[in-house]
C-alpha cells in the first residue's frame, strides 16, 4: 500500500506545517504592536542622544523627510528628522552614511543645530574591527562626543581631518581609517546641511497625497536603524534587509 502510506505521510507533514505556521502567526499577531513600539522607542532614544529633548517640542519622529544626495554617502534616500520649538526650526538630524569605513558603510546620526553647529553624532551600525575601529561607538569610548559644538568653520575646513592627516581630530591607536571616514562624512553632512538648510525645514513631512506611505516608511526606517550592531553578521543582515 505505498499510495496510502505516502498520503498519510503527506497529510501529517501538511498538518504540522499548518500548526507551525499557526503558532508563528499567532505570536506575530500578539507581538507586532509591541515590536513596532520598541523600534520607535529605540530610534527616539538615539535621536534624543544627538538632539537634547529640551531643545524642541514637536514630534521629531513623525516630522521626517527623505533626501538623496551624494554628500550624504549613499544613493539611497536617507532620513532627516526636524526638531522645532513652537514651530520654529531648532535642529535637524541627518541619518548619513560614511561609506569609506574599514568594513564598509558606517551609519551615522548627525544632529545639527539650526545655526550649523553639531549637537551630537552617533554611530547606528558599522562593521569595523572589534577592539580597534569599534571605539567610534559611544559605549566604548567618548571619541564620538568630540564632535559636539564643532561646525563647518570650527575647525577650519582644512582642519576637518584626523591628526595624522594634519587635522584637528584624534585617531585611535591601530585604527586610522575608521575615524578618518567618520570625520570626512560628518564634514560632508555639514556641507550638505549648509547648502540645503532652508529646503530641509520648509518641506512638509506629510508630503502631498501619500500621507500614509510616509508613515509606513518611517516605521521601515525604524527597522533599519535599530541601534548599534555589535556583530558583523548582524550588520550584514541589516544590509541585506535594506537591499530588499
Amino acid at each position: 500500500m505505498p499510495w496510502k502510506n505516502m498520503l498519510i505521510g503527506a497529510l501529517i507533514l501538511g498538518l504540522f506545517a499548518v500548526a507551525g505556521t499557526g503558532l508563528v502567526a499567532m505570536t506575530q499577531e500578539g507581538t507586532a504592536e509591541r515590536i513596532a513600539e520598541n523600534e520607535r522607542q529605540a530610534l527616539l532614544e538615539n535621536l534624543h542622544q544627538v538632539v537634547p529633548e529640551k531643545l524642541y517640542n514637536n514630534d521629531i519622529y513623525a516630522d521626517a523627510i527623505e533626501v538623496t544626495d551624494p554628500l550624504l554617502g549613499s544613493k539611497q534616500p536617507l532620513a532627516v528628522y526636524r526638531a522645532r520649538m513652537d514651530g520654529k526650526p531648532v535642529a535637524a538630524v541627518i541619518a548619513s552614511i560614511a561609506p569609506e569605513g574599514y568594513g564598509g558603510d558606517i551609519k551615522l546620526l548627525v544632529g545639527i543645530r539650526y545655526d550649523g553647529t553639531l549637537t551630537g553624532v552617533r554611530v547606528l551600525s558599522h562593521k569595523e574591527t572589534p577592539g580597534l575601529g569599534d571605539r567610534i561607538e559611544v559605549e566604548r569610548s567618548d571619541w564620538i562626543l568630540g564632535f559636539n559644538g564643532h561646525s563647518l568653520d570650527n575647525p577650519k575646513p582644512q582642519q576637518w581631518k584626523v591628526k595624522k592627516d594634519g587635522g584637528a581630530f584624534d585617531q585611535f591607536t591601530g585604527a586610522t581609517i575608521t575615524p578618518r571616514a567618520v570625520v570626512k562624512e560628518v564634514y560632508n553632512t555639514l556641507r550638505y546641511y549648509k547648502e540645503h538648510r532652508e529646503q530641509l525645514f520648509a518641506r512638509s513631512s506629510d508630503e502631498a497625497e501619500d500621507d500614509l506611505d510616509a508613515a509606513d516608511k518611517a516605521v521601515d526606517r525604524g527597522v533599519t536603524y535599530e541601534g548599534i550592531e555589535v556583530d558583523e553578521e548582524a550588520a550584514n543582515e541589516n544590509a541585506s534587509r535594506e537591499k530588499k
Binding site: G9, I12, F16, E233, N236, E237
Partner: protein, 233 residues
C-alpha cells in the same frame, strides 16, 4: 524509570556527551557569539529554551509521525519554536534581542537541536526528553559562558560587561573589571580566539577524563593486589 537513569541523562548532557565539547555541534553560533560572557549566556538561554520545547514536542508526537516524514516534521517544529521565541524576545526583551540579533534565527541551524530530537526525543518519553533538553542546553550554555569569559578576560580584561543590556541594571554588580588599565589582546576577541579557546577547553576536558580513568584503573589494580595478597597470606 530508575533514578540512576535520570542521573545518566543529566551527566551525559553536562559532561560525558556535552554538545560543544564532545559532540562538537552548533559551532557556528558558539564561535561567533562568545566574544563576551554575557553574549554567551544570552544565546545559551535561548538555545536551552528551544531545545526543551522541541524535545518535549517531538517526544509527544513521536508515535504520530511516520518515520518517512519525521525529519521535515522535526525541522518544522524547531523552526516554528525559534521564530516564536525570536518574536517574543523582540517584543519583551528588546535590548537582549538587539545584542543577539542574527544569532536567534540561527538557532534553527544548530544541529544539536535536530540531533537531540532525532537521537533522543523521538525514542524516549516526555519526562526523559525534557530532562535531556534541559541538561544538553545547560551543558551547551556553560561552555558558551566559560569560553566567553575566557575570551573576554584575555581580550578586554573585563567580565560580564554589558550584562545590564540583558537583565537590566539590577545585575550591574556582575560586571567586573578583572585587569585594570588592560590594553587588550585583540586575537582573543576575534574569531581565531574562539577556535583556540574551544580547542583548549576540549583538551582540558580530555585531560580530566584521562586522569579520572587512570585513577579508577589504579584503584581497581590496588584492590586486586590487596585481594591477591589476602589470598596468598
Amino acid at each position: 524509570m530508575a533514578d540512576a537513569d535520570y542521573g545518566k541523562i543529566a551527566k551525559d548532557g553536562f559532561w560525558d556527551n556535552n554538545v560543544a565539547l564532545v559532540q562538537v555541534l552548533g559551532l557556528c553560533p558558539l564561535l561567533a557569539v562568545t566574544s563576551t560572557a554575557t553574549n554567551g549566556l544570552g544565546l545559551g538561554l535561548a538555545t536551552t529554551l528551544v531545545l526543551i520545547a522541541s524535545n518535549v514536542t517531538v517526544s509527544l508526537i513521536r508515535h504520530v509521525v511516520r518515520p518517512e516524514v519525521r525529519i521535515p516534521v522535526f525541522v518544522l517544529v524547531i523552526a516554528s519554536f525559534v521564530t516564536a521565541v525570536e518574536l517574543a524576545m523582540n517584543a519583551f526583551f528588546y535590548d537582549l534581542y538587539k545584542v543577539l540579533g542574527i544569532f536567534i534565527p540561527l538557532i534553527v541551524t544548530n544541529c544539536s537541536i535536530l540531533g537531540r530530537a532525532e537521537a533522543f526525543a523521538s525514542k524516549n518519553n516526555v519526562g526523559r526528553s525534557l530532562l535531556d533538553g534541559l541538561t544538553m542546553g545547560v551543558g551547551f550554555m556553560l561552555v558558551l559562558v566559560v569560553l566567553g569569559a575566557m575570551r573576554e578576560i584575555v581580550g578586554a580584561g573585563t567580565l560580564f560587561s554589558q550584562a545590564s543590556m540583558m537583565f537590566g541594571h539590577s545585575v550591574d554588580w556582575l560586571t567586573t573589571t578583572v585587569i585594570e588599565d588592560y590594553k587588550g589582546f585583540l586575537l582573543a576577541s576575534l574569531p581565531p580566539g574562539a577556535f583556540i579557546g574551544l580547542g583548549l577547553l576540549i583538551a582540558l576536558k580530555n585531560l580530566i577524563d584521562q586522569r579520572t580513568e587512570q585513577r579508577q584503573k589504579q584503584a581497581t589494580l590496588a584492590t586486586k593486589a590487596k585481594a591477591a595478597e589476602a589470598a596468598s597470606a
